[in-house]
């Protein structure tokens, strides 16, 4: 064993003792990711099960009442009442009592019986875009189907001339948890890893024990590595936990190569821990370090990683910025391995980019260490 390795291990050993003595660090590293994963996994869902629907029936015929009854027979639509007119509908939407109001106009059933164009109006609360989008799609298709069946329009006849067969791969049931959990894992790990090093090293600066370390014959790079190693082990444990919970609780499949997953996770953690280290070296203050750490890890890994919000739809400038967000490549890697059964053959680009980011962070932290001690 060369002396350098010995010194690094000694530093790592010291850090491990810190961690073991302070349960809170363990909590931050292991319990927090789990709590966050569960919260996100259950709390973040775009699958709307219940939509509050109100009706305005200006037609007042047997047919219009049947339309209402049929729509409400669907479990996905909750009845919030029959309103008198358009003004009442508007009030219900302003008060947030209904997400959608179906207006059946005067002469609706007469027009339908005479084969004229009968139109139904859907009023949607656009202040909640997620609900409005889904309400529109589901409301329109439900109404079309119900009215077509009531009016006995041979809607299927003409449409069947062209046929579409779809096959959905990787997540045939279309569960949003299967899609979200890999992204959530990356997000959670990014935040915890950055915080782990940002907090612990900034504390050493504040308390002055870092200066003591500099008085010993340890090289800067050795300090960086010695600090990094224990947290890397902790981080990998967190990855294991998060993936295990993801596959058991949220039934996310694990189709690809575990080695590819391990390698990507390791590279990603090095980058994130390095980023935390760099922050603490630069700020030397716990309060500022935590804020910078959460800002620089939480925000990009949530917004620019493609975890929930599709990157293709962003403005060009943000699409470019997203290219330097490591979480983006880790999310892609996790989804590739877990859902699409990828191995390193498909994911080597991601691995190389993560490696580059990690190397850059470590180099920068080491460089900043040197400058500040002179």
């Amino acid at each position: 064993m060369t002396p350098a390795v010995g010194r690094i291990l000694a530093l790592a050993d010291k850090e491990v003792r810190h961690v073991l003595r302070d349960v809170r660090t363990l909590y931050l590293a292991l319990a927090m990711p789990l709590v966050m994963l569960l919260l996100f996994g259950f709390g973040v869902s775009f699958d709307l099960e219940h939509l509050q629907v109100a009706f305005v029936d200006l037609d007042q015929t047997e047919l219009s009442r049947t339309v209402r009854r049929r729509v409400l027979a669907d479990d996905g639509f909750d009845d919030v009442g029959l309103l008198a007119d358009g003004a009442a509908a508007e009030r219900a939407l302003v008060a947030g009592a209904a997400a959608m109001v179906v207006v059946l106009p005067h002469g609706f059933s007469r027009d339908l019986a005479r084969g004229r164009r009968a139109s139904v109006q859907l009023l949607l609360d656009g202040s909640d875009t997620v609900s409005a989008n889904q309400a529109r799609a589901r409301g329109e298709s439900a109404l079309r189907a119900i009215i077509a069946s009531l009016a006995k329009v041979p809607a299927a006849r003409a449409a069947s001339r062209l046929e579409l067969r779809t096959v959905t791969r990787f997540n045939p049931a279309g569960k949003s948890a299967v899609f979200l959990v890999p992204g959530i894992s990356a997000y959670v790990l990014a935040m915890v890893a950055v915080l782990l090093t940002a907090l612990t090293v900034a504390r050493e600066w504040e308390r002055g024990s870092m200066a003591q370390l500099f008085a010993t014959p340890v090289a800067r790079f050795e300090i960086v590595l010695g600090k990094l190693l224990p947290y890397l082990v902790l981080g990998m444990l967190a990855v294991l936990l998060v993936i295990a919970v993801g596959t058991w609780v949220f039934e996310v499949p694990f189709r690809g190569s575990p080695w590819a997953l391990a390698l990507l996770s390791l590279l990603f953690l090095i980058g994130m821990l390095g980023q935390g280290l760099l922050i603490s070296v630069v700020t030397r203050n716990q309060m500022v370090a935590t804020q910078v750490a959460t800002m620089s890890s939480m925000l990009p890994s949530m917004l620019l990683s493609g975890f929930v919000f599709p990157i293709e739809n962003m403005p060009t400038a943000l699409r470019w910025i997203s290219r330097v967000v490591p979480a983006r490549y880790y999310v892609a890697g996790l989804r590739g391995v877990l859902l699409r059964g990828n191995g390193l053959g498909e994911l080597w680009v991601e691995a190389v980019l993560l490696l580059a980011f990690g190397a850059l962070m470590l180099a920068l932290s080491t460089a900043r260490f040197q400058r500040t001690i002179a």
């Binding site: 809170r24 909640d128 859902l339």
Partner: protein, 363 residues
Amino acid sequence: MNTLSMLWAVVLKELRQTVRDKRMMALLVAAPLVQLVMFGSAVQLDVDQVPTALVQQDHSAAAREHARRVYSDGTLARTRTPRSADDALRMLETGEAAAVLFIPPDFARDQARAQRPRLQMVLDGSDPNRANVAANAVAMHLQNESVRAPRLGVESRVLFNPGLSTSIYMVPGVSAMLLLLVTTVVSSMGLARERERGTLEQIQVTPLPGLLLVLGKIIPFAAIGLLDFVLAMVVGAYGFEMPIRGSFALLLLATAIYLVNTLGAGLLIASLSASQQQAFMGGFLFMLPAALLSGIMTPVRSMPSWLSPLTVFNPLRHYAEILRAVLLRGAGASELAFQLSTLAVLGLVICCFAGASFRRQQG
């Protein structure tokens, strides 16, 4: 000295100390605005430009015309042309394409002979939303191609946000979240820092009552919170064309009640933690579920039925609902009576807990 002037002295001292610290000010004012702009512009929930590979096995002009029209509205975006069907499926595996559209050989001939020509699509279901959008785009195209009399129309009208712009939806919610970050996390860490450094004890020997001192420390954060709120509204209105339809006075009132909640929570967390690290983690532990279970990102309605009732205890949920209702729907106080009163009650409860916990600490 009477109580008010003592309080004012503490507030002034704290305000000076905070304003002088440039990094703190950056965190308190600039950082929230940066986040607001990021959230407002990065988040686009409506999906288009789904990368779709086209496997054209029928090279007739009619089939090509079909392909052109499927892609024409921008919902699907052409990827590179796959070399073969296998190559296209491979693109799905590497994530290069999210959907593959097959136009089989003899497609046009079948259509001409009225033989039910078939298109096939293979979708990457890992993002269910995107897969649905892609399949719907092709299905819509097919529906448009098949001629039939338009006998029924369903016409949708979206109120309050006709373009369904995600920014207008996100900005109010994100403002609420950022206020929480600034007021709860930063104030609790500030108090914890004083405890770590022992300056809190120093001031305690002065003839100031303990609670007054704490109040004096909290009030500057309330002022900064209100400033942040006004800034967020300005950025939202001018940067993202967010409407302000309701009464601004009502918004300020709701914000003040909300700040009682968030600062009370900050105080409670600070009184329970001995160090900045603990305060930060406490703040985080409060903020994360509050932000997630508030309906800011995803509707409360879509949460599992055992989870959604719990959101009643979440001040952030009520405040975000008030912001959206007043800003976008122009709602007034009578429509928001439930949210406003719940918010006030929650604030009172949190402050009682915080006060009790603080007094116990000081023994």
